[in-house]
């Protein structure tokens, strides 16, 4: 009898131990069960600004906006690359934050899952934004996210080097080719851009393709082929190092700073790094277009703020107030100044350009900039892959630009 009792005890222990595992595991995920009742005092925020100065600028603005809405902010910053993985994991465990920041080309992907609430639910105004910026935050005719500040890419040039060579900043493709060839000497290449096998390579190519009338829906067009021909010519003639095939935008910036490239295609987020170089005098102009008179069209960069569907109406309402506050005119202007980005509202951007002449060309570009997901929505990642595949094949001489684009389009 004694042995039987111990046996039962042991068996009971085993059962509890086994049953306890899933219980303990599920316990980890369900700490923030949606509930209502009681005033909302805290809302959670997830974003990827984990480097200074962005981290503090965004953090301070969030805190101020929280105070204005009567809530404290519980903020978590994750590395940019792991944000989407984190969001998907939170979506499946129903622990999405109250306010979520997303890189704009990812918005449609996440909105498509149904995890985000349309901003019209909370009467957030979408007035005063240019079409490109709104389309970046729109999924199926509903606006899900707003970007307080945005960016795009332009042509940076080394003033001293160009002046020495007696070259003015190029405005057309012909001028770009001549200037880049003339500026290539010794260790120095005329131009640096990023043509790597990632979406970043695609992003850098878009202004050339779009300004010439190319379209991401169908890349097998003469317009896109002409743009790719320009890149191919620049690399083949040696004006751009073939290392561009493996450079990131940060590498491109390093080349420019080291004096190994006289011009580069890059964005305003590099300005703080560039300004630290006392000896470097640089200017920024629009990315050259094929023929004088064409409008430069850049890709729109920047992060949008969204309100996920957490099931807690009170918290969502507070979250929406914070998103609206982040996008107020004053906050747009303040954050743009501190982060070298451009306010998204047209009126605020104009004021900003007048006060910050260095960023004026970016402010012009942003107004006409296009969102990468504007036409394709969730299909964008597929097409972006095709674009960088075509670029890499053309630049490595595997196919002519036209053929490379055609083969990539057909898959």
């Amino acid at each position: 009898m004694k042995s039987a009792l111990t046996r039962t005890k042991a068996a009971a222990f085993a059962v509890t131990a086994l049953a306890g595992i899933p219980l303990a595991l599920s316990g980890c995920g369900s700490s923030t069960a949606p509930g209502s009742g009681g005033p909302v005092t805290e809302i959670s925020v997830v974003d990827y600004y984990n480097n200074e100065p962005d981290k503090s600028v965004i953090g301070d603005t969030l805190t101020a906006c929280g105070t204005q809405s009567g809530v404290t902010i519980k903020r978590e910053t994750v590395p940019g690359k792991s944000l989407i993985a984190k969001v998907l994991q939170q979506a499946s465990s129903k622990t999405l934050p109250d306010v979520l920041m997303l890189d704009n080309p990812d918005l449609q992907q996440i909105a498509g899952t149904g995890a985000l609430a349309p901003l019209s639910d909370f009467n957030i105004s979408t007035e005063g934004y240019p079409e490109g910026i709104l389309s970046a935050g729109t999924y199926k005719d509903q606006v899900y996210g707003l970007a307080p500040t945005v960016n795009t890419i332009a042509l940076f040039y080394n003033k001293d080097v160009l002046a020495q060579a007696g070259i003015t900043p190029p405005t057309t493709w012909e001028e770009l080719k001549t200037a880049a060839a003339a500026l290539t000497a010794g260790d120095q290449y005329g131009l640096a851009f990023n043509a790597n096998a990632t979406y970043e390579g695609t992003w850098q190519f878009l202004p050339f393709m779009w300004s010439n009338g190319g379209d991401e829906k169908n890349i097998a067009t003469p317009e896109s082929a002409e743009a790719l021909q320009l890149w191919t010519d620049l690399v083949k003639s040696g004006s751009v190092s073939s290392s561009a095939l493996n450079w990131t935008q940060a590498d491109v910036n390093d080349q420019f700073i080291a004096g190994k490239a006289a011009m580069m295609v890059n964005g305003p987020w590099q300005i703080p790094v560039l300004d630290k170089q006392a000896a470097l005098q640089y200017g920024v102009v629009n990315i050259p277009v094929k023929d004088a008179g064409q409008t430069p069209v850049g890709p729109l960069g920047g992060e949008v703020w969204t309100v996920p569907q957490t099931g807690n109406k009170e918290k969502q309402a507070k979250a929406a107030q914070v998103v609206a506050c982040m996008n107020s005119d004053e906050n747009q202007l303040a954050m743009a100044k501190a982060r070298n980005t451009i306010p998204s509202k047209t009126k605020v951007a104009a004021q900003f350009a007048a006060e910050n002449p260095k960023l004026a060309s970016f402010a012009d570009l942003v107004e006409t900039a296009r969102a990468r997901t504007g036409q394709l929505g969730e299909e964008w990642p597929d097409q972006a892959t095709k674009i960088y595949t075509a670029i890499q094949r053309a630049l490595t001489d595997q196919a002519s630009p036209a053929d490379a684009l055609k083969q990539a389009q057909e898959g």
């Binding site: 046996r7 992907q109 498509g112 899952t113 290392s243 892959t385 595949t389 094949r393």
Partner: protein, 320 residues
């Protein structure tokens, strides 16, 4: 408790002489339960961390598993559609060939260099121990760090390797190690060989230590020294260790991802794209988790073939 009652019911009349036997049985049963209890943690661990992911990955490969699945939980069954898509993609054959070349080249390089170094370090000479531990360095560095450093070393314009070759006057312009479609795979392979040498040296060196010195003495009496001793003593005695090193090496190399992502990201023009990088890109860049899982399972299947070979080789080694 219940079992005891049932047993009592089954044998209502217990002969007195059976009592010690009964006690013995109860003791054995209790012991068996304890044995199971000791197994529970291991079984639970295997089921949770190996069983569940494998089963989930197999299921996922038969589903249309997209970003929205994470929120809605809906993933329609699509049968073999994911497999059909990835296999019929134009990239599949490129990735297969690259995987085969990368694995074969890496293994051959790692093994030959590793074996050479292991034989070399078997001799006694000053600083042997220090040099051997320095050799482990590539193993100790995080892969992200080593790939970033190698990316800089192999850079066409300012890279250390090209600078070195230029200063020797061997080349006049930089070689595009990582940006030429014909060189990139070889360059990535070379870095992977560098990373794999410590593993090969360590295991092979251990195997060499186990070969009794008397064998070499006896062989030298018969006139077998140097290469002959290696051919007729070292190699046959090392065979079981060799098969383990090779098969494990293949499995480790097939799944290499971080080095390739860090060095070339699969470029230029997909010339370093392998099954592993392709599976990663499908799942985490294009958000096609079903297709990514299908690609991953193909890789698991290939690894499985080598894992079975390993188990068989191991069994034979034990039998011998």
């Amino acid at each position: 408790m219940t079992t005891t009652v049932q047993e009592l019911a089954r044998n209502p009349v217990q002969p007195v002489t059976d009592a010690p036997m009964k006690r013995h049985q109860g003791y054995r049963r209790r012991e068996r339960i304890y044995q199971w209890l000791f197994l529970v943690p291991a079984v639970a661990y295997l089921a949770l961390f190996f069983g569940y992911p494998v089963v989930k990955n197999v299921l996922m490969s038969f589903q249309d598993y997209s970003t929205s699945t994470f929120y809605t939980g809906e993933a329609p069954w699509v049968g073999f559609a994911n497999y059909a898509t990835v296999i019929s993609s134009s990239l599949f054959s490129t990735a297969m060939i690259n995987t085969a070349l990368f694995t074969a080249g890496s293994i051959a390089g790692q093994f030959i260099l590793g074996l050479g170094l292991a034989v070399f370090f078997k001799r006694r000479f000053p600083l042997n121990g220090i040099l051997r531990s320095l050799l482990l360095l590539p193993w100790l560095l995080p892969l992200i760090v080593s790939s970033a450093v190698w990316r800089w070393i192999l850079d066409k314009d300012g890279g250390a390797l090209n600078n070195f070759l230029e200063s020797l006057g061997i080349i006049s312009t930089g070689i595009p190690w990582l940006t030429s479609t014909s060189l990139a795979l070889a360059a990535v392979m070379a870095v992977n060989i560098w990373i794999g040498i410590p593993f090969n040296v360590t295991v092979l060196y251990g195997g060499l230590q186990d070969i009794p010195d008397e064998l070499y003495e006896a062989a030298s009496l018969d006139g077998a020294t140097g290469w002959k001793a290696f051919r007729h003593v070292t190699w046959p005695m090392l065979r079981p260790v060799v098969s383990v090193v090779l098969v494990l090496g293949v499995v480790y190399t097939l799944k290499v991802l971080d080095i390739i992502l860090g060095l070339t990201n699969g470029g230029p023009a997909n010339s370093t794209q392998t099954i592993a990088t392709q599976s990663y890109a499908l799942s985490f860049q294009n958000f096609k988790f079903g297709e990514g899982a299908a690609m991953g399972n193909i890789l698991v299947l290939i690894s499985l073939v080598f894992a079975v070979l390993y188990l068989r080789a191991n069994r034979r080694a034990v039998d011998e």
